[in-house]
């Protein structure tokens, strides 16, 4: 990796880990995994199912919140606070700045996901007293959650490159919600006709298809995940993230920093 990108990524990571809000969110996610144990105890025979479902959902949701919360300010806050001026007046190209920020945030989220996953596995061990082979499927769900984070990071950066943090948060969160129902949107497009069909189909393919990344429920029921889906989701996430990042670079390369 270009060394300047690595330096910017490492500084972005350092900024995130020194933010107290991050720890609050992680603590909250771990608390939720702990609460899953209690909920599981109320539901007879399905403790494990509840722990996996609730635990992984917490990892995903809190990760998305962290990605949006940090991602939306990555560029706009730097412009607003003028910290960017002393960075871009050095031999740093604008695209390097955007890509460095992306890797910094993605790195932060991967580390967070790791710690939250440790919490989920600890809760699982508490209720099952052992790990079985099928529990390894949780790693696939975690991998998909990380892919989801990459898309969210790139989208948050894209919005941050041209709008205020508040608007970026609204855009990114809306896309996350719509994207989580992308399959339904595609089904709806199939039922309509004419212009509505065109528009609905266009929107369905434009928004990130997060529903394809959600395998939490099937994994909780110990159903295997097809290798094809893993490849498809990996390529899709990389493609989407690269496109969104390219958009962010394109906007940022031509933006006046007033």
């Amino acid at each position: 990796m270009n060394t300047r990108i690595a330096y910017i990524a490492s500084n972005t990571f350092r900024e995130a880990v020194r933010d107290r809000v991050l720890y609050n969110l992680i603590a909250f996610a771990l608390l939720l995994s702990g609460a899953a144990i209690l909920v599981g105890q109320i539901s007879i025979e399905i403790e494990k199912l509840v722990v996996i479902n609730l635990g992984l959902t917490a990892v995903s949701l809190f990760g998305v919140v962290i990605a949006i919360f940090i991602g939306i300010g990555l560029v706009s806050k730097e412009i607003e606070k003028r910290t960017l001026y002393t960075v871009l007046s050095r031999p740093v190209r604008r695209w390097e700045f955007i890509v460095g920020k992306f890797f910094g945030l993605a790195g932060t989220l991967v580390v967070n996901a790791f710690f939250m996953a440790v919490g989920v596995f600890a809760a699982l061990f508490y209720v099952s007293h052992k790990f079985v082979r099928a529990d390894a499927l949780i790693l696939v769900a975690l991998y998909f959650i990380i892919l989801e984070f990459l898309i969210i990071c790139s989208l948050a950066l894209l919005f941050s490159s041209f709008s205020s943090p508040l608007l970026s948060a609204v855009f990114a969160f809306s896309l996350f919600v719509i994207g989580s129902f992308a399959e339904d949107l595609r089904n709806f497009a199939g039922m309509t006709h004419g212009l509505t069909r065109w528009l609905a189909t266009g929107a369905a393919y434009l928004v990130p298809n997060f529903s394809a990344f959600n395998v939490i429920s099937s994994i909780a029921h110990e159903q295997p995940v097809a290798g094809q889906l893993i490849v498809h989701n990996t390529l899709y996430a990389l493609f989407y993230a690269i496109m969104a990042l390219s958009g962010a670079v394109l906007i940022f390369e031509n933006r006046d920093l007033k």
Partner: protein
């Protein structure tokens, strides 16, 4: 080779939400800054100083025009390794300590790793922050942040340094230190380009200045040339408590303070006054040419610009 050649840089912003209309922030600017000089870019707030600096730093794109820095096109990324920049009212990553921040900027500027720590410590010492190098910047005062800003601008030993309002927010001691630092940079052979609206700083420091107002360049020149466009008058100071009648008769403006008399006279009357003082056996202390201060020159330029603008409306 000039350090900076600004070749008609111009900036027009589109303002308004629904109906966009152009607002010119900078008219085509032609300016040359020679290598090794301290150049002052003067103008009131909103004159276009910061816009010019931002364009030179590649932060804002010009509507037209170009520039050459250190002999190369200003968009050439390699140029940036040789320039330092202090923005106006700088704000830095406040979760970092002063040492971490300079270390980070050193990395981005390509300061070799083996020299970096030593260079960071040296700069922290130079800007007087050695004792607080481990303190997070969020605990720094405005003056301390300004010092950090100056530190990051000179960290990579640039050939050319741009300072945007470097004295702003500093107490008199801090201002003095910044002035000393700029003189030291000049002594080391570096070129310093700084914008300010504090004229006394410019007068004390600059080899040459440019005056900009409402986006237009109003004058450029050596401070001495601008300030010595004298009104043809001299100030004569002698010891005494009274003004001799022969000097009064010349129509001189005289002021008696304690045991000293000051008289402002036309240069052509200088010999007559000296003769009169000899005759009266008064002790001559000094004869000083009356110079236009940079401030007077500045005010005059702006007033003239306002008048021209008013007459063309």
């Amino acid at each position: 080779m000039p350090a900076i050649e600004i070749l008609g840089l111009e900036k027009t912003y589109m303002v308004g939400f629904w109906r966009k209309r152009p607002r010119r922030a900078l008219s085509p600017l032609q300016l040359t800054v020679e290598d090794g000089e301290i150049f002052g870019f003067l103008g009131p707030n909103g004159a276009g100083k910061t816009t010019t600096l931002k364009m030179l730093m590649g932060l804002v794109f010009p509507t037209s025009g170009s520039a050459r820095i250190l002999g190369r096109d200003w968009t050439d990324p390699t140029v940036k390794a040789q320039i330092g920049f202090l923005p106006e009212q700088p704000y830095f990553y406040d979760y970092l300590t002063a040492h971490e921040l300079l270390e980070y900027y050193g990395q981005l500027s390509g300061v070799p790793a083996k020299h970096r720590k030593q260079r960071v410590d040296q700069v922290l010492e130079q800007v007087g922050l050695r004792d607080v190098k481990g303190v997070q910047l969020r605990k720094f005062s405005k003056g301390m942040l300004q010092r950090v800003g100056i530190g990051q601008a000179i960290l990579h030993d640039p050939k050319l340094v741009f300072f945007d309002e470097p004295m702003s927010g500093l107490d008199p001691m801090g201002r003095r230190e910044v002035r000393d630092l700029m003189e030291q940079l000049k002594h080391e052979g570096k070129t310093v380009f700084f914008s300010t609206h504090i004229l006394s700083d410019a007068e004390a420091l600059c080899d040459r200045v440019a005056i900009i107002h409402k986006g237009e360049l109003r004058g450029v020149g050596a401070v001495e040339d601008l300030t010595s466009s004298v009104q043809g008058k001299v100030e004569v100071i002698w010891q005494g408590t009274q003004v001799p009648a022969s000097i009064k008769a010349l129509g001189a403006e005289c002021h008696v303070t304690g045991d000293r008399v000051r008289a402002v006279i036309a240069e052509s009357q200088q010999d007559a006054v000296i003769d009169a003082l000899r005759r009266e056996r008064q002790r001559l202390i000094a004869i000083i040419p009356v110079r236009t201060s940079l401030e007077a020159y500045f005010v005059e330029k702006l007033r003239r610009a306002e008048t021209t603008a008013g007459s063309t409306v």
